[in-house]
């Protein structure tokens, strides 16, 4: 297994660091293709880890099926984004750096997902964080720069909390390895809680948990959609990985408080995200708020981790909902990037009738939106309703009920998107889907997977998870 990790480092780190330099110096254009190959190979390498578990590198890295599963999803997301970017970022002067950052960030994501030691966490977190700040601003236009400045500024706040939190927690655990605490000295409980809280804030920041969400609408709503598809679809997984790896072992020591914090945060996050999305006129911004709402659903599953009889279903739920989320968000933001490239304005009005002009991408967009809405039999229905909401059914039915109510509210804006895409006169412009519109392939892949996984492969995914 160590070989696999080494190979990943060489593959992603090597290509990520060397190739763009070549492109800049020699003026070649190989980085997009090498990045594509690198992500595909990375998927194969991660695939080798399926079903394996154990600790590596003197216990700093720990492999288990859930982390491998998440890594695989992240890789698929990265591959799809890279694929779409072949046509999307061709004109950007900074595109070789983009691919470099994409690969390095992906490497960082792996390390966060497999992390077992504080030093690795800090290093990997910093790698991903810095890479993502630059990624957001890489287009160098006004909107991107504004978004990146906000992102970085808030990122500094959250990273400092990460360090504080780690320091507090490690001071109590007295080892840098993340593990289950057997007992907490009486006087230190509050200190531990404070540390946990800081970590929740730090990780919650990346996930878009209210009230640590401020940057998210601006970044997801303001940056170029192709970048957002990566930030939302791939980079976000580090927060989920960190929750699972860093915080989960600490839950037994703060069990009741953990449930309370998670339930409280999930309620305000879901309601804020869904209600704010209702009034958005810009679809990209609406999807940003929808991401906040989705973060709220994840928090429900995190809340369920507090109790042993709901834990198993919750973990499966997190894994499955990550699948839903990554497929949908990568697909939707790539789709929005596609519409933007075809000259459409990304407001509801601007997208009216687009589904009739670009029928394939419109239909697949609709499938992805329906999956987020939780329409059976798509994967989003299973992950959201049947796993995440049902996981808390045993311990807090009211929380599940609030989640279901929120799903009901969310129909209000998801249906608007579908309505404008299809139930409107198509605009009088001459556009159609044609070669080489690679974004359509990405939409096809994500939508077909969304349908197929929902129709009967849920069991396969669950088997991968455990």
């Amino acid at each position: 297994m160590e070989m696999v990790i080494w190979s990943l480092m060489v593959l992603l780190g090597g290509i990520g660091l060397v190739v763009p330099t070549l492109d800049y110096l020699k003026g070649t254009k190989v980085s997009p293709y090498l990045a594509l190959i690198a992500t595909a190979l990375a998927a194969v390498l991660v695939g080798l880890l399926i079903g394996k578990s154990g600790t590596l590198f003197d216990g700093t890295i720990r492999v288990d099926p859930l982390a491998t599963y998440l890594a695989l999803i992240a890789t698929v997301g990265a591959f799809l984004v890279t694929f779409a970017s072949l046509v999307q970022v061709k004109e950007w002067s900074t595109s070789p750096s983009l691919y470099s950052l994409l690969l390095l960030a992906l490497l960082g994501v792996y390390f966060v997902l497999y992390v077992n030691d504080a030093s690795v966490l800090v290093a990997a977190w910093a790698l991903v964080a810095v890479a993502s700040y630059v990624l957001v601003g890489i287009k160098k236009d006004e909107d991107s720069l504004e978004a990146t400045a906000k992102y970085a500024l808030m990122g500094v706040a959250s990273s400092s909390l990460l360090i504080f939190g780690i320091a507090l927690v490690l001071g109590i655990v007295k080892t840098s390895t993340f593990q289950v605490l057997n007992s907490v000295p009486i006087g230190l409980k509050t200190t531990l809680l404070l540390g946990v809280l800081m970590l929740i804030a730090a990780f919650g920041f990346k996930l878009g948990v209210v009230p640590f969400h401020g940057w998210l609408p601006d970044v997801y709503g303001g940056a170029h959609p192709i970048i957002v598809s990566f930030v939302a679809g791939v980079i976000k997984l580090i927060s989920i990985g960190a929750f699972l790896r860093v915080l989960q072992p600490l839950i037994p020591s703060v069990a009741n408080d953990w449930f309370l914090i998670m339930a409280f945060l999930s309620i305000i996050t879901m309601f804020y995200g869904n209600l704010a999305a209702l009034v958005q006129k810009n679809v990209q911004r609406m999807m940003a708020y929808s991401s906040i709402a989705q973060a709220g659903y994840f928090l429900i599953a995190f809340a369920a981790l507090a109790y042993s009889d709901s834990q198993a279903l919750a973990l499966e739920g997190i894994g499955l909902h990550v699948t839903t989320y990554v497929l949908a968000k990568v697909g939707i933001f790539v789709g929005l990037a596609y519409f933007a490239r075809k000259g459409f304005d990304l407001t509801l009005e601007g997208l009216s009738g687009v589904g009739r002009k670009l029928p394939l991408s419109g239909t697949f967009m609709t499938v992805l939106v329906l999956s987020l809405m939780g329409m059976p039999p798509l994967i989003g229905f299973w992950s959201k309703f049947m796993y995440i909401f049902y996981s808390v059914m045993n311990v807090a039915p009211w929380l599940a009920f609030l989640g279901i109510v929120n799903s009901g509210i969310s129909v209000g804006y998801y249906a608007q998107v579908i309505r404008y895409l299809f139930f409107a006169d198509p605009p009088e412009v001459d556009v159609r889907e044609e070669e080489p519109d690679l974004e359509v392939y990405v939409l096809t892949i994500t939508a077909v997977l969304t349908v197929l996984l929902g129709l009967g492969l849920v069991d396969v995914l669950v088997a991968l998870l455990s």
Binding site: V279, Y390, M393, P397, G408, V411
Partner: protein
């Protein structure tokens, strides 16, 4: 054999074929119709099989093993008869659509969703578990959304309501795209309850299988009943059914669903979609009754639930019928009538749970579903043909069509007589049983609604037939006649609705003889009904007199008002009379309920969203940042001035710090919105709030 699987799978296959044969024109249309025909044949074979076997047919395969979700069918007499009605009616409507939709540019979409719709409905009828049922349930919702909005270009003639009319400042006309949205949002609202109910049942029983749930009734109903939560649970679980069947207060979507093609309206109203809610209650009310029998503590709560269903049903029947009295749009009259008739079915099922002989009420609701499906499909299809000929949806633009469209006139008259409940039509037998059960239930108000509605129904049905076919010709019709545009409908359209109208008449005629047999087959092995029940046709003379008085009274008033010249004068003077106008507007604007919804709910949500924005992004955060911090700095500097009156300190506090904040502020302002500092403040405030909350709670 697995005909039951084929019954719902064939339409789905048809839907996919319609999509693949996008460019095949007529071939695609015919294949889509043949798929429905296949489903109809399969449903017939399924019924045959179900009737032949004593036990219900239950076939299931594992699907999602980790959750115990199965992929299967459960065919008792309820499911089999229902599937038969759905499939055959859908087939006739599909045949009609072949001609009716001819030349429409969106036919691939139409046939795809049509077949998808029928498949989903059959799936929900035949499913053996709640998840599969929910899948079909949502499928019908999605397909109806697409079909109601089929004419998405929103031309005025496709709308519902008078263009430009407002009630309480809220527009009262709805283009197709808006109506589709209303349908999905309204019905999804109820689905929230449905899925929550599924969750609650799963929590107690760890199964989704419907027969299992019936067997394990004590395990979920018991704890709920003891906690006093059974009544709210039943209401929440059935919320989806109320919404789907357009019961008050969820009725609004059905009214505007009339923007779809008329064939779609017929499909939604007669066989699919709205009947799903009634089917849901037919499927689960025997189980609810079982709960009341097995658990003493559950009895009062189940009783309360059925009383609520009877009252809501009765009220919906009455309330929607009053709106049909004044409506000017042919399809709208029928839409109000559908919701009203659905109210009757809910009334029957509610009453069923309250009377000693549950199967009697069950059959009243079920048989009325069947007879309504037949005559309402016929009425809608005639309406479509008429609207096609006169190019207007308003009855003011019709009148005097009987000469040109004799067969259509015959069909509409027969179907309307059935709707009114005139003997010996099918509608008479089934509606009369409902009123009888309602009386027996002891919920007097519901019974009263039932009886009064019978009169209202007779009035609006008669008015509709007269205004369409017998009234003096409108300018529009005269104009069409001069240009020889008036013609009988094409046989492909005429045959489906005429045959449905005749079925309604002939079955009604033979009801005293074959009725008990048909009813017996319908109730032979329904899940949850264990008692032996031998249906028989009987007439309660007192009740018969009451209902017939209402029916003929309503009919005569309508004839008097619209067929005689003095009657017409009366109508005109009634409408000009101020009090008459107030009542008319009240009914015409649907009791202002639509306006109230828009003002309170839609407006309320928008207000809530905006307030949250304000609260988060300006009020607290802004207040903290722009008031509290400057105030704090100011205080600090004052303090500092007091104690260290040196120039260095003075400079630091008054100059540097202020400059620092200014610099930071202007830096941030360069980011155009200046919100980022607020985000940061929110970030830390949020952290503090959570911390305080914990300290406070812990």
């Amino acid at each position: 054999m697995e005909y039951a699987f084929l019954t719902w799978q064939i339409p789905y296959i048809g839907a996919i074929l319609a999509l693949l044969l996008n460019r095949a024109g007529k071939v695609r249309d015919v294949i889509a119709v043949l798929a429905i025909f296949g489903a109809a044949v399969a449903s017939t074979l399924t019924l045959q099989e179900a009737l032949a076997s004593e036990e219900a047919i239950h076939i299931s395969y594992p699907w999602i093993k980790s959750l115990g979700v199965t992929f299967g069918v459960y065919v008792d007499s309820l499911a089999a008869v229902m599937a038969l009605i759905v499939a055959w009616l859908s087939f006739l409507i599909a045949v009609y659509s072949l001609k009716y939709m001819e030349g429409d540019p969106g036919l691939t979409r139409y046939w795809f969703f049509f077949d998808f719709f029928v498949g989903s409905m059959l799936l929900l009828v035949l499913a053996d578990n709640l998840i599969l049922m929910f899948l079909g349930w949502e499928g019908t919702g999605l397909a109806s959304y697409a079909l109601i909005g089929h004419w998405y270009t929103d031309e005025d003639e496709r709308c519902v309501g008078d263009i430009g009319r407002k009630a309480l400042g809220v527009p009262m006309w709805f283009p197709p795209s808006h109506s589709g949205l209303r349908a999905i949002v309204f019905t999804r609202l109820g689905d929230v309850g449905f899925i929550a109910g599924i969750g609650a049942i799963y929590y107690f029983t760890h199964t989704f299988s419907i027969p299992e749930i019936a067997h394990m009734v004590g395990e979920w109903a018991g704890p709920l009943a003891h906690a006093g939560l059974l009544f709210p649970f039943l209401l929440i679980f059935s919320l989806g059914a109320f919404a789907k069947s357009a019961q008050f207060p969820f009725h609004e979507w059905l009214v505007t669903a009339m923007t779809g093609p008329t064939s779609v309206s017929a499909l939604i109203h007669a066989a699919t979609m709205v009947k799903a809610g009634v089917y849901f209650l037919l499927r689960f009310s025997p189980i609810f009754v079982l709960a009341a029998h097995e658990i003493p503590a559950a009895e009062p709560q189940v009783h309360a639930f059925f009383t609520a269903v009877a009252l809501i049903g009765g009220f919906t029947a009455f309330f929607m019928a009053t709106q049909a009295l004044v409506s000017r749009e042919l399809k709208l009259i029928l839409a109000f009538s559908t919701a009203s008739q659905l109210g009757y079915m809910f009334l029957a099922l509610g009453a069923a749970g309250l009377i000693a002989e549950f199967p009697l009420g069950f059959l009243a609701g079920f048989s009325h579903l069947m007879s309504h499906a037949i005559f309402k499909a016929s009425l809608f299809l005639v309406a479509g043909a008429v609207i096609h000929v006169v190019h207007s949806r308003f009855i003011d633009d019709m009148g005097g069509l009987w000469k040109a469209m004799k067969w259509s006139f015959l069909a509409m008259s027969l179907a309307a007589l059935s709707l009114m409940g005139v003997p010996p039509f099918m509608g008479f037998w089934t509606k009369d049983t409902i009123i009888e059960v309602a009386k027996e239930s002891g919920v007097f108000l519901a019974y009263l609604f039932g009886v009064v509605t019978a009169g209202l129904t007779a009035f609006y049905s008669t008015r509709m037939v007269i205004r369409t076919f017998l009234y003096e010709m409108s300018e529009n019709v005269k104009h069409a006649e001069e240009h020889h545009h008036l013609h009988e409908a094409h046989p492909l359209m005429l045959i489906p609705y005429l045959s449905l109208a005749l079925v309604s008449f002939i079955v009604g005629l033979s009801w005293p003889v074959y009725g008990p047999e048909i009813l017996g087959a319908m109730v032979s092995n329904v899940l949850g009904i264990h008692e032996e029940f031998h249906p028989h046709v009987h007439l309660d003379i007192g009740l018969l007199a009451t209902s017939l008085t209402m029916v003929f009274g309503g009919m005569l008033v309508a004839i008097g008002l619209y067929m005689t010249s003095s009657g017409r004068v009366t109508v005109r003077s009634l409408r000009e009379n101020p009090a008459g106008k107030v009542i008319h507007d009240f009914l015409y604007d649907r009791w202002y309920i639509n306006s109230i919804y828009y003002i309170v709910i839609v407006g309320g949500f928008a207000w809530l969203s905006r307030t949250i924005f304000k609260y988060f992004d300006s009020l607290i955060v802004d207040g903290f940042y722009h008031r509290f911090i400057p105030w704090l700095t100011d205080r600090l500097s004052v303090l500092g001035f007091k104690y260290f009156e040196t120039e260095v300190v003075d400079e630091t506090y008054h100059d540097r710090i202020v400059r620092m904040f200014k610099a930071f502020g202007s830096y941030v302002r360069r980011l155009q919105t200046g919100l980022v500092n607020q985000y940061l403040v929110a970030f830390f405030i949020g952290l503090l709030v959570v911390l305080f909350l914990l300290l406070w709670v812990g």
